[in-house]
């Protein structure tokens, strides 16, 4: 076969098609093109090929074609081309044209890739290490696209934004959807667009460095490829700001003036895939990849479409026209018309305002709860202006109808509820979950579950007898929200109002896998490639929404366990396609159970929160509350000035948050300053204010001991063991004795670094006492700093894997020991043992295993710190990671001896003595904590108050892991206990477990065999036992905390829930603690817990919780006896 005249390289990406044509005769690129395909990859390629056949005249006789990119593998055979994997293609082109490059970062529409070229000294071969985003599309071009669209910014403007010299704000780069939330919040706080974009660039670079690079260093030269690097110079600048810092830290010195030359985006950055495909084609045999013409693309595409739909699709949303008609009749929202009144009439009502993240809503309801007026406004970047506009709309509505409105009460809700309350002097700021529950119960007496799907948030509220029993909010992931439907619909050219109409036309739809919203985008591209039409894709997307809500976000696979009466609320349920999907999904879950679920859509689903707030205001008015509302007329005349810059930064703690100052002028009053801050201290404007706030907090804390905080503080304190070390010999003939004596003398100055993580939160006293008893000075036992986001950011970039946060942060602690502590004063060793077993106080446990992630973390830390260069060796520090079995004292003695013998010059006898001291210290620490726990319980019983028992693992006491959650609960007025602080005294146990013992369910109060049989993991068994304790103590409410990705907690979550809930109390859960602190959702959860506990306390007082009261009385009487 003769050689071809042309070689065409095509890169079919997730959002664009790029192609270059190589003229083999002249050995040059004679044509290139870059087009967005708008989810029509085949169509766009077809256009290109048709054009190329005309000019310069490619044909099946003179052209070979090679395709790469995420969409190429299925298209390639249709045009006769060969598929080349994209990383392979890019790497080929880099090797051909940029030989000095050692790192490549390619950001695509939805994928991000890093290719590292490493010269192996052993094999003299260049090895390519490549990584690609696999679980999440945070850090890709899609995030920029979404946020630009959301902020309504002109892409041309984004291109001009520079990174250098801008103030940067924290933006979560972990998830594109949450980055969006942060950016929206920052915008609402008045941060200018240039700073928003620069902060976004910063977050993207950090995301790629911490997650995608998987601990590898991106050594120079660094080539930045892909559309985003080509189009946004600010992004390239962000790389130039971050990488040199990393190089310096890892010993790669690059002069300042060379940085621009060593990190660069080439002019043809977006064509590298296509160029690589050409390079691949030129290396291939001449018979490979002959172009077959574009017509086959069309024909095969049609064939593929029909086959795929038959095989893999689902039937469309409407089984039949009758089915659709019946559904619409049942669920089409009744049209709402404002009431008509005679002119001049005085109308009394209550105003409810919902200040949400994406919109502001206001309603007026009558004394009887009837909706009189409503207003809705999508956020335009200034929440106060949005508020004024909706109030103007409400006021205008009544003025137009020429009736006078007298507002008897005002309630606010939503994440801006406190600000609005302060501004308007409203009567109540009601937490969203409760507001939604009230709104649902107003329209339907009996409700079990409220499904509220908004633009960004998903809230599921579970009710029992009209009270909030449980609630779930999306805090780590926003998959399943309504904004995604809207964005996709608009992407296809349909306004969201037309969504349902279009989707109902589909006779079949693709079966989307649920999960990350950004991967849904990948699926859309894939389905389009297979020939699915827009209406079919829209229908399929609507049907994935309930799966995302229930299975991915809320993780409730078995709906009947929640109840049978469902109310759908939230703006997304204005879309009837979404409603049909929800209805079908819920019904499907009940199929075969013999129960028919009752599903209704709230008549004002978009404004339900505001309705709930107004209802609460009405309730307060009825109970005699006089409203202090400033009045609508004055409210719409409010003038304000928002400021959020360096001047507003808070210096009252080390977090140094930037606050928002709102100078508000209500007509007829003086200018007032409202401060929006992330904590109570931040709301203080002056030192006097701060003192007042602090004094209040201190008194609350004194009245409500927080034993999690106590444990987390005291566990690191120096111990006071007896000194059991041998005395060094002054002189000896024997060299080994001389050597040992020298080691004993050295102990006084021997410095040990210990990371403040994981099992050390329980066993630090043991190790401290062991070392101290052998002569190591307490000040020479150096713990890393407490976990903080800064410590994590600085030290986690070598991280390779993505386990739970407590394990992930360990690397940052070791980094802190090396980079901060060791450099301040030299450390001799870092001690981070692999703890395989932990003693368990549960009587019938079948094993005492530690979590395997926790146990193995020290060796993954070692791997990360020694991979490119051995940092420990470089710094002259020994990394000591022995295997330790804490559950077997004899074995542990041997293991400790083995670990420390050479370093401290131990003898077995000396080791035994130190072990005794260590165990004594550990027992003192644990005993002290339990004693305090007993005192707290006695206080609760004496004062008849409720305390919170945290069902967590010891490392959840780390304030950086629980993100201040326990302190917030304490500040709300609840004493905090932990499983480790529960008293194990026989008198307490006998009182609580007397019934179980009498019935013979357990033989020992410390058994858990009655609820759990697979009790081999110490922390899990102890957590379950603590749940039993909470279920039996009438004054304890359990809060289950666990880390995102925790495997053991996933396995026991339902048991803990069953144990606690069987006793008639809900189990509040924070099951997704991770590196970022979702402030907003935390706040809502905490406020809901507080609301519930206050209701619970009141109910208890009224005798509604009879069994609990009886039990309490019994408990108290037995104590008295």
């Amino acid at each position: 076969m003769t050689a071809s005249r042309f070689v065409l390289g095509v890169d079919v990406g997730s959002t664009t098609v790029k192609a270059v044509l190589w003229d083999c005769e002249h050995a040059l690129i004679c044509w290139k093109d870059y087009r967005r395909h708008g989810a029509n990859q085949r169509g766009r390629l077809r256009e290109m090929l048709v054009g190329l056949e005309q000019e310069p005249g490619i044909s099946p006789k003179n052209c070979r074609i090679f395709l790469t990119g995420s969409g190429a593998s299925e298209i390639a055979p249709l045009v006769g081309g060969r598929y080349v994997q994209e990383v392979h293609a890019v790497a080929l082109q880099v090797e051909r044209s940029h030989q000095g490059v050692r790192s490549v970062v390619e950001l695509g529409g939805q994928d991000a890739k890093i290719i590292l070229f490493r010269q192996s000294p052993k094999t003299a071969r260049t090895r390519k290490i490549s990584h690609m985003n696999d679980k999440c599309a945070g850090g890709t071009g899609a995030v920029i696209d979404r946020i630009t669209a959301k902020l309504g910014l002109d892409p041309e403007f984004v291109r001009t934004v520079r990174y250098q010299g801008r103030s940067l704000h924290p933006v979560a780069g972990k998830c594109g959807v949450f980055a969006e939330t942060d950016i929206t919040n920052l915008r609402n706080r008045g941060v200018p667009p240039e700073e928003l974009v620069a902060s976004l660039f910063d977050a993207l670079v950090l995301q790629n460095l911490t997650v995608l690079a998987r601990g590898n260093t991106l050594f120079p030269d660094v080539l930045l490829l892909g559309g985003p690097h080509f189009f946004f110079p600010g992004l390239v600048e962000a790389w130039r700001a971050h990488l040199p810092r990393l190089w310096r830290e890892r010993g790669e010195e690059v002069p300042e003036d060379e940085i621009d030359r060593r990190i660069y985006a080439p002019p043809d950055a977006q064509y590298f895939g296509a160029l690589g495909a050409v390079a691949y084609g030129l290396e291939e045999a001449a018979e490979e990849g002959w172009y077959r013409g574009w017509r086959s693309l069309d024909e095969a595409g049609n064939q593929l479409r029909s086959v795929t739909k038959c095989r893999e699709g689902l039937p469309g949303p409407a089984a039949s026209p009758q089915d659709l008609r019946a559904f619409l009749e049942a669920y089409r929202p009744p049209s709402w018309e404002p009431s008509e009144w005679p002119e001049g009439r005085l109308i009394s009502g209550f105003l409810g305002i919902d200040g949400g993240s994406t919109s502001t809503k206001a309603v007026v309801i009558s004394e009887h709860g009837k909706l009189l007026a409503k207003a809705y406004r999508l956020s335009r970047g200034n929440p106060l202006q949005d508020l004024i506009e909706v109030l103007k709309e409400i006021r205008g509505d009544f003025l137009r109808r020429q009736v006078e409105l007298r507002l008897l009460g005002v309630g606010t809700t939503g994440y801006l509820k406190d600000l609005f309350r302060d501004l308007l002097q409203a009567d109540v700021a009601l937490v969203e979950t409760v507001a939604h529950a009230k709104a649902a119960l107003r329209f339907q007496r009996q409700v079990d579950v409220i499904v509220d799907v908004g633009g960004q948030d998903i809230k599921l509220v579970v009710l029992r007898e009209g009270h909030v029993k449980d609630f779930m909010l999306n805090s780590q992931c926003s998959a399943g929200n309504g904004f995604y439907l809207q964005a996709t619909s608009e992407g296809f050219g349909y306004p969201v109002e037309k969504y349902a109409e279009v989707a109902f036309r589909a006779e079949a739809m693709p079966n989307f896998g649920y999960g990350c919203a950004v991967f849904l985008q990948a699926d859309i591209v894939n389905f389009q490639r297979q020939g699915w039409r827009p209406e079919e894709i829209l229908a399929g997307l609507a049907y994935v929404l309930p799966k995302n809500v229930w299975l991915y976000v809320a993780r409730i696979p078995h709906l009947p366990s929640l109840g049978t009466r469902f109310v759908l609320q939230g703006g997304t349920h204005r879309n009837l396609a979404a409603v049909k999907a929800q209805v079908d999904y819920i019904r499907e879950q009940f199929r075969g159970s013999g129960v028919e679920p009752q599903i209704t859509v709230h008549p004002h689903c978009g404004e339900a929160g505001a309705v709930g707030a107004a209802l609460e205001a009405a309730r307060l008015w009825r109970s005699g509350r006089e409203s202090r509302f400033i009045g609508l007329d004055r409210a719409v005349e409010i003038r304000f000035n928002a400021r959020c810059d360096e001047q507003t930064r808070c210096f009252y703690c080390t977090n140094r948050c930037v606050r928002t100052f709102l100078d508000v002028e209500v007509p007829g009053t003086e200018v007032r300053r409202l401060i929006t801050a992330s904590c109570e201290k931040g709301a203080a404007e002056s030192v006097e204010d701060l003192r007042r706030v602090k004094a209040r907090l201190d008194s609350v804390k004194a009245a409500n001991p927080n034993l999690a905080e106590t444990a987390a503080r005291e566990v690191w304190k120096p111990q006071h063991p007896l000194r059991v070390a041998d005395e060094p010999r002054r002189w000896s003939f024997r060299p080994w004795v001389r050597r040992r004596s020298e080691l004993i003398r050295r102990r006084g100055n021997f410095r040990v670094g210990i990371p403040r993580v994981l099992n050390f939160y329980q066993y630090a006293p043991f190790f401290s006492a062991y070392l101290q008893s052998l002569g190591v000075r307490p000040e020479n036992i150096v713990f890393s700093d407490y976990t903080s986001s800064r410590l994590y950011r600085e030290g986690a970039q070598r991280g390779v894997i993505d386990p739970c946060y407590p394990a992930k942060v360990a690397l940052a602690h070791v980094h802190n020991l090396l980079v901060v502590k060791h450099r301040r004063k030299r450390l001799d060793c870092i001690f981070f043992p692999l703890i395989t077993k932990i003693p368990c106080w549960v009587a019938d446990s079948s094993g005492e295993d530690a979590c395997c992630t926790v146990a193995a973390t020290p060796q993954t830390v070692r791997a990360a710190m020694t991979r490119e260069v051995d940092v420990f060796e470089q710094e002259g520090v020994v990394y000591l990671a022995p295997l330790l079995d804490l559950a077997d004292r004899a074995l542990l003695a041997g293991e400790m001896f083995e670990a420390w013998e050479a370093m401290l010059g131990l003898t077995p006898e000396e080791n035994d003595r130190a072990m005794e001291q260590a165990w004594a210290a550990q027992e003192r620490f644990e005993g002290g904590l339990r004693r305090r726990g007993k005192e707290v319980l006695e206080m609760l019983e004496r004062e008849g108050r409720i305390g919170i028992l945290i069902l967590g693992r010891p490392y959840h006491q780390d304030p950086g892991v629980h993100h201040g959650l326990f302190d917030r609960l304490q500040e709300l007025g609840y004493p905090i206990l932990t499983p480790g602080s529960l008293p194990l005294d026989p008198d307490v146990l006998e009182r609580l477990f007397a019934d179980d013992l009498r019935e013979g369910v357990v033989g020992d109060p410390l058994e858990i065999g009655d609820v759990w049989v697979n009790a081999y993991s110490t922390n899990s068994s102890q957590k379950i036992w603590a749940a039993k304790f909470a279920a039996r103590h009438p004054l304890l409410v359990a809060v289950d905390v666990s880390s995102f990705n925790c495997g053991h907690d996933a396995a026991i979550a339902r048991v803990c829930e069953a144990v606690v809930e069987a006793s008639g109390r809900p189990l509040f859960a924070f099951r997704d603690l991770d590196e970022n602190r979702p402030t907003g959702t935390f706040q809502i959860r905490l406020e809901t817990i507080d609301y519930f506990l206050k209701e619970f306390g009141q109910g208890r007082e009224k005798g509604l919780r009879k069994p609990c009261l009886e039990s309490q009385e019994k408990l108290l009487s037995s104590r008295a006896g």
Partner: protein, 575 residues
């Protein structure tokens, strides 16, 4: 107690919430068991391994007189069902297995059986274990899923892995020596057949021939296993055990006879020979250039052939690779080794601080008494694997020595640290790369698998130490298929390039053209037989490259290093 009585007792007790004196308290539903008189009537349902293993294990159950059914193969529906009824945040194996079980039970409902009847007639057989990962807690989730799906009284029979041969036979199955040896043989053979299947299929000349032959062979083994447990005892209905008072000879003698009959009996040898001949009849084209991909990772993820690992076996073959699967045997021998190693660690640590020599010696002796049976069991397993492997042509891969794996992994992963595959993944990656047995190590694991994630964490250091190691770790979660495949393609491109380079290098070394070699092979049919042993070449991994060098030597008249299949020589062995 009859099944009916059991069911009645359970229905009274099965309410999870019991009223204590004042407060209602949750109680774990009681575990149902299989009464001895039910054994011959109840149908045992099991599954979740590779279909070959399930199929052969079924024969063993049937041979022991049990009715038996295997779970349907995992698919998307199964995964959805599993996720719906199990706890949130669990790993895939639970979802797939529980989903398969529920799909099976729903199928029975569709056939017209009512729930009570199903609970009475069927039991689910699983392995129970404990250890630092979640595997041991799966059982709780199966029970939860059954309860949530309306089968609260359905019985789950656990086989306690840590109890070994000391199972509670009063509450479950009766595990006799025939049963034990049958399972032993089934696992060994399924592993070897699986290895051979994936070794031959990518090179088959007639599409579908390999599948057809292997199905035939498995059916043959199935028939043999089914027969070998039953006919000796004369009663196919009752589960058999080694009689505590045998009629003739002692108990040990009886055991020895059973072992000999099961593992070396003439009828078994005959079946293996038939299989070998059948497999050898497959025609292959060894000139196809295929990179070899070693699959490791979490046990379920690399055993299952379906959506549980994104259909990775067929995807890799479709992408032009040869799959080198990992046998269950390596996990079994690992468990034995680990127990022994833990004992050794314990002994070493305690001896280090033993106050007297006498105590030191006593500790060492105690360790050896425990370690010897474990050592023997491990050696016996490896020996029988090797024996059957040779009997089936000798081209299947050998089981790695566990001590070697632990030694190689030790600088990175502590060999005493337990949990999931522990150091196995690291050890295997290094082992097979150093042995030049694969181009790419693909480690498959369920999303969120705790021990496997830690293993990945240390693999970075392994790759720095062994730059020739091409490693990809892939988490399978049931979604994200497109990106997962893309990542595999990415790694495969490297492997393919390496394979192609090797073939070019081999051709350069021989100085012959491919056509020349092809013509030679065309004229000699034995080179195209599936079990023709091609010798290993130290510098070459690609089977095509090895074959090219071998054929070229033959063309040069060099007859060293190989013989026809079934011969005593094993040139394809590693040194």
């Amino acid at each position: 107690m009859s099944a009916k009585d059991c069911a009645e007792v359970k229905s009274e007790d099965s309410s999870p919430v019991r009223k204590s004196a004042n407060i209602l308290h949750y109680r774990r539903p009681p575990e149902g068991y299989l009464a001895p008189e039910e054994r011959s009537n109840a149908t045992i349902v099991f599954g979740g391994l590779n279909w070959r293993h399930d199929f052969l294990a079924k024969a063993v159950f049937e041979a022991a007189g049990y009715r038996c059914e295997t779970l349907p193969p995992p698919d998307e529906e199964v995964y959805e069902l599993g996720r719906r009824f199990c706890s949130a945040g669990q790993c895939n194996p639970v979802y797939f297995t529980a989903g398969s079980l529920l799909k099976f039970l729903r199928g029975l409902l569709r056939e017209g059986l009512d729930r009570d009847e199903i609970c009475r007639r069927y039991v689910f057989f699983i392995a129970r274990s404990c250890g630092p990962c979640r595997f041991g807690m799966y059982e709780a989730d199966y029970r939860l899923a059954l309860e949530a799906a309306g089968f609260a009284d359905f019985r789950v029979l656990p086989f306690a892995l840590n109890a070994g041969i000391h199972q509670d036979e009063e509450k479950g199955l009766r595990y006799g020596i025939d049963f034990g040896l049958g399972v032993y043989k089934a696992v060994l053979l399924a592993d070897i057949f699986r290895d051979l299947h994936f070794q031959i299929r990518p090179y088959e000349v007639v599409p579908g021939q390999t599948d057809e032959v292997f199905h035939r062979c498995l059916n043959r083994i199935y028939a043999h296993l089914r027969q070998s447990g039953a006919d000796r005892e004369g009663d196919s209905k009752t589960p058999v055990s080694v009689s505590p008072k045998p009629a003739r000879g002692g108990r040990w003698w009886n055991c020895f006879k059973a072992i000999h009959r099961h593992l070396h009996g003439s009828d078994f040898v005959q079946v293996l020979d038939e299989c070998r001949r059948d497999i050898d009849s497959i025609t292959v084209d060894r000139f196809r250039v295929k990179p070899v991909v070693k699959l490791t990772g979490e046990l379920f993820a690399h055993l299952t052939e379906g959506p549980g690992n994104y259909d990775m076996f067929s995807f890799l073959e479709q992408e032009g690779a040869q799959v080198f699967p990992d046998p269950i045997g390596s996990m079994l021998t690992h468990l034995l080794y680990q127990r022994r190693n833990e004992g050794r660690h314990r002994s070493a640590m305690l001896c280090g601080v033993a106050p007297t020599l006498k105590q030191d010696l006593r500790l060492r002796l105690a360790h050896w008494r425990k370690a010897m049976p474990l050592w023997f069991a491990e050696k016996a397993y490896v020996h029988h694997y090797d024996l059957f492997r040779r009997r089936l042509g000798g081209t299947a891969h050998r089981l790695p020595a566990q001590a070697d794996l632990a030694r190689l992994a030790a600088p990175f992963y502590h060999p005493v640290l337990r949990g999931g595959e522990a150091h196995l993944e690291v050890g295997k990656s290094i082992y097979y790369t150093l042995l030049r047995e694969c181009h790419l190590v693909l480690s498959l694991k369920p999303f969120g698998c705790m021990p496997s994630a830690q293993s990945d964490g240390v693999q970075v250091a392994v790759q720095e130490r062994y730059p020739e190691l091409l490693f990809l770790s892939l988490e399978t979660s049931g979604d994200g298929l497109v990106l997962a495949q893309s990542r595999v393609q990415m790694a495969l491109a490297e492997a393919r390039r390496a394979a192609r380079d090797e073939v070019e290098a081999a051709l350069r070394r021989t100085g012959r053209s491919l056509d020349e070699l092809r013509r030679f092979v065309e004229s000699r049919p034995e080179y195209r037989r599936a079990l023709y042993p091609v010798p290993r070449e130290r510098d070459f991994v690609t089977p095509a490259a090895r074959f090219i060098l071998h054929v070229s030597r033959r063309m040069n008249g060099d007859t060293r290093g190989s013989n026809v299949a079934g011969s005593s020589e094993e040139p394809s062995e590693r040194g």
